[in-house]
């Protein structure tokens, strides 16, 4: 067990993959010479050469489409879309091809493709560059969607994603690359899809969250603890499939729940979690499930405004208070 950054963890598991499976290669914008917009692939081009670390044109649709084709043909591409905002230029390929080819072919073809991308705000990149759209992909049957919050989860989930015969959206967060955490050295350490992780135990309220908001929630939980409220923090990790059981189990214990997400509220992850609690644990609730999400606006550029738009510890605490 060593403590490394989220960036390092992803970098390491990518290298491990490239080392172990000659069918694998990476492609994306500026992952080679530039070494990655978030420096995840630093040193990769030197180590693996341009045939396996492929810098692409700025052509998101063919980047993903070519990943699909290569995967169908037996190669194991790992595609990087620089951010989830740009994935909108490839969303047709993801949704209409990757997610559906297995089904439309009656099971004849598979698309074992991992699409890595970066979600979230917080870098003052303004409205078109600060979105959290992973919920859209999790809407679509045929895809898997994971969004790790820690180095260990990133490694465990990446291995599962890579070994899976389906297309997996692997959602990273730009503000987490520097976050440190312990990782398991076992190269066979994997985390199954659809398994949430209780990142903190507590008896009084359940906070369901994922990705960067898991950290915000843990911060809030710590402060709540000081006032005597013990929050259980359930990190979904996997958005499709979603671990209803873990959510319900925790809510049955605490009778109160808050969902914290960085995206917009309507038709978001929080709505889904709330609806699942409604369906599976209504009778256990002492108060209505609260949703904490970004404000319902395009992201403004100015730092104080941007900070006010995204959920923070204060807003999580406020939501918890509303339950008591």
């Amino acid at each position: 067990m060593a403590s490394i950054t989220y960036r390092k963890a992803i970098s390491r598991v990518l290298k491990e993959t490239l080392d172990n499976d000659p069918r694998s290669f990476m492609m994306g914008e500026d992952i080679g010479t530039y070494e990655g917009a978030y420096a995840v692939t630093r040193g990769f081009l030197d180590k693996y050469g341009p045939e396996r670390i492929k810098d692409t044109p700025i052509s998101e649709s063919v980047i993903v489409g070519a990943g699909i084709g290569a995967a169908m043909g037996g190669a194991r591409p790992i595609v990087e879309l620089m951010t989830i905002n740009f994935s909108l230029l490839a969303i047709d390929q993801i949704v209409n091809s990757a997610a559906k080819l297995h089904y439309m072919s009656g099971g004849q073809v598979t698309v074992p493709l991992v699409i890595r991308t970066v979600s979230g705000g917080g870098n003052q990149l303004a409205a078109s560059h600060s979105q959290s759209l992973e919920g859209w992909y999790a809407h679509v049957p045929g895809l898997f969607v994971v969004a790790p919050s820690t180095p260990s989860d990133a490694m465990g989930l990446f291995r599962t994603a890579y070994r899976d015969p389906n297309t997996v959206m692997f959602i990273e967060h730009s503000l987490l690359y520097g976050a440190k955490g312990e990782v398991n050295d076992d190269p066979d350490f994997t985390i199954p899809f659809g398994k949430a992780d209780v990142k903190r135990e507590g008896e009084d309220v359940t906070i369901i969250t994922y990705s960067r908001m898991a950290h915000v929630s843990l911060g809030a939980a710590k402060r709540l603890s000081e006032e005597g409220i013990e929050a259980e923090v359930v990190d979904l990790r996997s958005l499709r499939p979603m671990d209803t059981e873990a959510i319900v189990e925790s809510v049955k214990k605490t009778s109160r729940a808050v969902v914290v997400e960085e995206g917009w509220k309507p038709m978001g992850i929080g709505a889904e979690v709330s609806a699942r609690i409604m369906e599976n644990a209504l009778e256990y609730l002492d108060a209505p499930v609260q949703r904490v999400a970004s404000l319902d606006v395009p992201m403004p550029y100015a730092r104080p405004l941007e900070q006010a738009v995204m959920p923070d510890e204060d807003r999580v605490i406020e939501a918890v208070h509303r339950l008591f």
């Binding site: 069918r23 052509s59 990943g67 290569a70 043909g73 591409p77 089904y103 009656g106």
Partner: protein, 326 residues
């Protein structure tokens, strides 16, 4: 078709090409009939008139090669040797279909023959073709990918992203544009600002024979052979523009208000099957009796396909959940 004094191939090869084109023609006619009778639903895009392209080009492939196509792909599927029974059953939405009835007319697949799909999103198959080429190159398995699409697809951004990447990475892909002059009801001159589609190829530094006659099965075969060869030798992609015409509407739902009858008539007279037949007759390779025998043979296959499809059951409801994930 070049006027020849003697055949360039074995008679059996001529017969085979003719048989394939005829099979597609009759299959499509029967499909239209089945659609009218409510046996087939959804959209049904017939390939009638364009048979020479599928038959000519696919004959240039080897068994390990890949094909991807658009939604007007019955012809490509049959030319690749996919079983007419299973194709018809797919159109009927039955469990005996190529996708067990889950894909329908626009989504034919036969992985065992490298037929990796009809795609219903215009242009959507092109990035995938690039990927198949990329995968083949990466794995070093020497497979070539043949990618069919229409003139309308040229206006989708993906067309260009695909051409560029294939050329840039020198991938073994043959892009074959079936230019039938229309995208649904829109004539190409109303939607494409240029005059010749193939002129994009040189801008990407891509090999191209230019525009070929898509009604001439030999011209298509030759151009594709060269392109496949080029790809197989590691020289990269080729762009072929084959001029053709669809004799029927865009789909069975097409009210057909946008084309002149004289134009249709003109093209019908240039049809691939009529031309092939005349050509073979001129060369003394086909007589009336042989033609009748061929028709009978093909009709039987098509009728058998319909019988098979009709006898095939619909998947049970709980199979709906299969094939979502592998």
């Amino acid at each position: 078709m070049k006027v020849l004094s003697k055949p360039l191939m074995q008679k059996s090869e001529y017969m085979d090409l003719l048989r394939q084109m005829l099979l597609i023609r009759r299959f499509e006619e029967k499909a239209a009939e089945m659609y009218m009778r409510g046996k087939i639903g959804g959209f049904l895009h017939l390939y009638i008139g364009e048979e020479a392209i599928a038959v000519g080009s696919i004959s240039a492939l080897q068994p390990q090669d890949y094909i991807v196509s658009h939604y007007r792909e019955h012809g490509h599927a049959l030319a690749r040797g996919m079983e007419p029974r299973k194709v018809m059953a797919e159109l009927f939405g039955r469990s005996g279909g190529t996708s067990k009835g889950k894909g329908g007319s626009m989504h034919l697949f036969d992985a065992s023959r490298g037929f990796l799909g009809g795609y219903a999103i215009v242009g959507g198959m092109m990035p995938i073709a690039v990927g198949l080429g990329l995968g083949a190159k990466h794995l070093g398995n020497n497979r070539v990918t043949l990618c069919f699409f229409g003139d309308g697809a040229v206006n989708e951004g993906e067309f260009h992203e695909s051409l560029n990447l294939a050329a840039l990475w020198n991938l073994p892909v043959v892009f074959l544009c079936e230019n039938n002059g229309y995208g649904m009801g829109s004539p190409i001159q109303d939607t494409f600002a240029g005059t010749d589609i193939f002129r994009f190829a040189p801008v990407y530094g891509m090999n191209t024979p230019g525009q070929i006659d898509g009604m001439d099965v030999f011209e298509v075969m030759d151009a594709t052979k060269e392109a496949v060869d080029h790809a197989r030798k590691g020289r990269g992609p080729t762009f072929i523009e084959a001029k053709t015409y669809r004799f029927r509407g865009h789909s069975m739902a097409d009210p057909m208000v946008y084309r002149k009858k004289t134009e249709e008539e003109e093209w019908r007279n240039k049809g691939p099957i009529i031309r092939m037949k005349d050509h073979m007759e001129e060369l003394g390779l086909l007589d009336e009796a042989e033609m009748q025998a061929l028709e009978a043979e093909v009709d039987e296959i098509v009728q058998d396909a319909v019988d098979f499809a009709d006898a095939s059951s619909v998947l049970p409801h709980d199979a709906i959940y299969d094939d979502v994930y592998a």
